[in-house]
Amino acid sequence: MSEISYRQALKDAMIEELEQDENVVIIGEEVAQYNGAYKVTEGLLAQFGPKRIVDAPISEAGFIGMGIGASMLGIRPVMELMFWSFAYVAWDQIINNAASVRYMSGGKINVPIVIRGPANGGTGVGATHSHTPENFIANTPGLKVVCPTTPYDAKGLLKAAIRDNDPVYVMESTILYNNVGEVPEEEYVIPLGKADVKREGTDVSLIAHGPSVLVCLEAAEILESEHGIDAEVVDLRSIRPLDEQTIVDSVKKTSRAVLVEENKPFCGVDAQIAYLIQNQAFDYLDAPVQRVSAIDAPAVYSPPLEKIQLPKSDVVIKKILEIC
């Protein structure tokens, strides 16, 4: 095992897949000569050359659509969005073309693309740069979406995403890039659709994805030391496909659920999770399912307000104390 950063884990995943499959190509803005806006692709151009690591002009619809077209011929583009907030300028390609071409052709075509990049707020960049669109992607049949929280998860899931023959969108976070964690030396892949219980517990299930998982882990520590409550933290890791079994097993064990996500509440991922829990574990629940999401407004700029707008452990704890 070695301790590496989330950023390094993503890079290692790309390096390993670039080495193993000549059809893998990295495309994005500033990924090559600039070494990556967030340094995730640092060094890749030097190692693999300009055919495999490609700088795109600021044309998300253009280069992502191009990648989708190339993937129909067997190329496996891994396309970086500098921010997932920029996906909307390419939304027609990302939703209509990537998700529908297989279906409309009666299964004659597949689109083995990956689109990856940071989907997060909390960095003072304002409303148009802080989106977390995993819920929109999850709503679209034909697409897959994952949200890794730790370096271990980031590497394993990105490798799985690149090898997947369907479009897989990877939601990272700039806030997580510097976090370090243990990653095996030997090669490993994490299958899509598997959640991970990051902390076992008995009294309440905290179910989250992305940086909210870390918020839940922090809340769990405080709950144990200050309130004598033993919380279980379930990291979804994969939104679509979804590890429903782990969610339901956890809630059946604890009888209480608090869902935490950085996204806004209406039709966020947790709205779906809440439905699933009450539908499949109704008789096990001792309290209504609770949610903590971002405060329901565009991402505010002013730093102290932005801090309040996003899920924090004190808010999570408050919610839990309402039902425990």
């Binding site: 044309s59 992502i64 989708i68 077209g69 299958p191 539908n279």
Partner: protein, 371 residues
């Protein structure tokens, strides 16, 4: 830098008979055999008769949704696709029946698809706007205006990446040229020297809005916008299948040999409305305009006359080919009628490659969410 080959015929002339006879001698066409020349007619008339039969089927309630007919534009699909070689690929928008038949898809599967039957080329899952056949290098069939233009750049990118000598033909309408995705595609294609030939099938109208009312462009036409991207461009007279072949072949050679893109503008016309739902197509156009095209500029009728004048076919021979096309179209409607609809279980198929290939599936978890 940029080459431009503005044909002298950017405005249609009449009579056009002499034009075909002259165009037949151009390098791309001079060595065609009689069989090949007769085949062009047969392919064009097959498209027309298929479109006419599908129009009737629509009026009889057999077809749902939209139907964008290619009648009047046949020379473009047949001319361009006749130039395709092993590593060339083609993609177009929703006026795609002509291209589908030209690459060799059958009338049966195309008609069955319109009827929504399981024997359709997309198993009934796609409909009129979404014909695909990768085995014939044909990548659709796309509903969003200009949505296919980045895909066309992608096909070219893929060919170049795989070191294959070939090009991508990406068709679009005159109404698509103002979409942002198209401009992004032109820039990327030119910047990265992608072997893509963008072909504007300019029938003068984007749905009900004439070119004059929608597009700003240089005096030299829509294709001249390519100057803004330092890209090769040119005009082609769609009423002459020979001019189509000559102009497009030059662009395909440029793509294949030098990996450089082009933007071509082929002047053509459609008899029917934008789609079957277009009730106004005789209001935003005049009867005189439509009749003028039919009388003087219809590529199919002009080609018919050319074949007769060149003594390649007699009137009797032409009638036989026409009748065969009509019969084939009629039988495809019968085939479609007698075919079954897809089973309900088909709704959840062809969504994910992994779900359709369970023995190779690596992911776990739940992928569909209805209860």
């Amino acid at each position: 830098m940029t080459k431009s080959s503005v044909s002298e015929n950017t405005k249609r002339q009449k009579p056009a008979k002499a034009i075909l006879a002259k165009d037949a001698k151009s390098p791309a066409n001079a060595n065609l055999s009689s069989d090949e020349l007769i085949d062009f007619y047969s392919e064009m008339i097959r498209i027309r008769r298929f479109e006419e039969r599908s129009l009737r089927a629509y009026q009889q309630g057999r077809i749902a949704g939209f139907l964008h007919l290619y009648i009047g534009q046949e020379s473009i699909a047949v001319g361009c696709i006749s130039l395709m070689e092993e590593n060339d690929h083609v993609i177009t928008a929703y006026r795609d029946h002509g291209h589908a038949l030209a690459v060799g898809m059958s009338m049966n599967e195309c008609m069955a698809e319109l009827f929504g039957k399981s024997t359709g080329c997309s198993k009934g899952k796609g409909g009129s706007m979404h014909y695909f056949d990768p085995s014939k290098n044909y990548w659709g069939g796309h509903g969003i205006v200009a949505g296919q233009t980045p895909l066309g750049a992608g096909l070219a990118y893929g060919l170049k990446y795989q070191n294959k000598k070939g090009c991508a033909l990406c068709f679009l309408g005159d109404g698509a040229i103002n979409q942002g995705a198209f401009h992004e595609s032109l820039n990327i294609a030119s910047l990265w020297n992608l072997p893509v030939v963008y072909i504007i099938e300019n029938n003068g109208y984007s749905m009900g809005t004439s070119q004059e009312r929608s597009s700003m462009h240089p005096d030299l036409g829509l294709a001249a916008r390519a100057e803004g991207y330092s890209m090769n461009w040119g005009h082609i007279n769609g009423e002459s299948i020979f001019d189509v072949r000559e102009g497009v072949k030059n662009a395909m050679d440029l793509a294949r040999e030098e990996s450089k893109p082009s933007l071509l503008e082929i002047h053509t016309y459609r008899y029917q409305g934008h789609s079957i739902a277009d009730a106004n197509h005789k209001k935003y156009r005049t009867k005189e305009e439509i009749d003028d095209y039919r009388k003087n500029h219809d590529p199919l009728l002009l080609y018919r006359d050319y074949l007769v004048d060149a003594e390649l076919l007699t009137e009797k021979g032409l009638k036989e080919i026409d009748q065969a096309a009509k019969t084939e179209a009629e039988e495809s409607a019968k085939f479609a009628d007698e075919s079954p609809f897809p089973p309900e279980s088909d709704i959840l198929k062809d969504v994910y490659w992994e779900e359709d290939n369970p023995d190779q599936k690596l992911s776990e978890g739940r992928i569909f969410f209805n209860d």
